[in-house]
């Protein structure tokens, strides 16, 4: 077992346990959000192991630093403390969902055997330079569209959250 593999399984365990913690936690919404952060960071670690350095950095910054923070803002704004809602009817759905999930999993496992080993990675792969070049040459249109999307989201969020439209 190389160091990489150890790190990988460690990060993976973290991610899964935190995810479960977020979903199964019914008492504290803030705790759920914080579990989510742990998951994000664990995933960022895995990205680094997979030679996606810039993506990892952005993952931590945007997801962990902005998105989850946003969640926490809202929780505190609305003064939500505990989530006392019982799942109720979803008991059956939970079971069904679990079964489906297992079936899907099995299917994926079954179809993903016999993959070759990871090839060696070229230098500069996943670095900011390469990614920057890719973004602004091949995918420049995507960037523009993304900016449009963000503009729309900003305007939408602003209007939704206003008390009165004046």
């Amino acid at each position: 077992m190389s160091a990489q593999q150890v790190l990988f399984y460690g990060f993976a365990a973290f991610a899964v346990i935190s995810a479960l913690g977020m979903v199964l936690n019914v008492r504290n919404t803030v705790a759920a959000a914080l579990s989510l952060v742990v998951t994000m960071v664990a995933l960022a670690g895995i990205y680094v192991l997979l030679e996606a350095h810039l993506v990892a950095a952005i993952q931590v910054m945007v997801y962990g630093g902005a998105i989850v923070v946003l969640f926490l803002f809202v929780v505190m704004l609305l003064n939500l403390r505990s989530d006392d809602f019982q799942p109720g009817r979803a008991r059956l759905q939970k079971l069904a969902g679990a079964l489906i999930g297992i079936a899907l999993l099995a299917q994926i496992v079954r179809s993903s055997v016999d993959l070759p080993a990871l090839p060696p990675v070229p230098p500069g792969f996943g670095g900011y330079r390469q990614l920057g070049i890719a973004l602004y040459t091949d995918y420049v249109l995507l960037v523009e569209v993304a900016s449009l999307l963000l503009t729309a989201a900003i305007v939408g969020a602003l209007i939704l959250a206003k008390r009165k439209i004046d």
């Binding site: 190389s2 593999q5 990988f8 993976a12 991610a15 899964v16 995810a19 977020m22 979903v23 019914v26 919404t29 759920a32 959000a33 989510l36 998951t39 994000m40 995933l43 895995i46 997979l50 030679e51 996606a52 993506v55 993952q59 945007v62 997801y63 998105i67 946003l70 803002f73 809202v74 704004l77 609305l78 939500l80 989530d83 809602f85 799942p87 759905q93 939970k94 969902g97 999930g101 999993l105 994926i108 496992v109 993903s112 055997v113 990871l118 990675v121 070229p122 500069g124 996943g126 390469q130 890719a134 973004l135 993304a146 963000l150 729309a152 989201a153 939408g156 939704l160 959250a161 008390r163």
Partner: protein, 106 residues
Amino acid sequence: MIPLEHVILLSAVLFGIGIVGVVTRRNLIVVLMSIELMLNAVNLAFVGFNRMWPGAPGQNALDGQVFVLMVITVAAAEVAVGLGIVISMFRNRDSVDIEEVSLLKW
């Protein structure tokens, strides 16, 4: 060397957990967070596949990672708007219970 199957397996597991969260939880905010989890699982898959096929030496094919960036962008936008909706809903009904918003039914 990390076997790709394990990466995909992890992605699938996280995705499943996310689905369970979306379908089961009644708190709207937790539902939104579960959706984020699902998106993250997908990102993981993308990065994993990109690592598997990094392109010919000399030319780097970074399509997967670029797409991950796009997904993150979209997720951010979606969270912003979604939380705006949560705030509106709270103002109207004083609750973030997802089962309160079920008027559009038979």
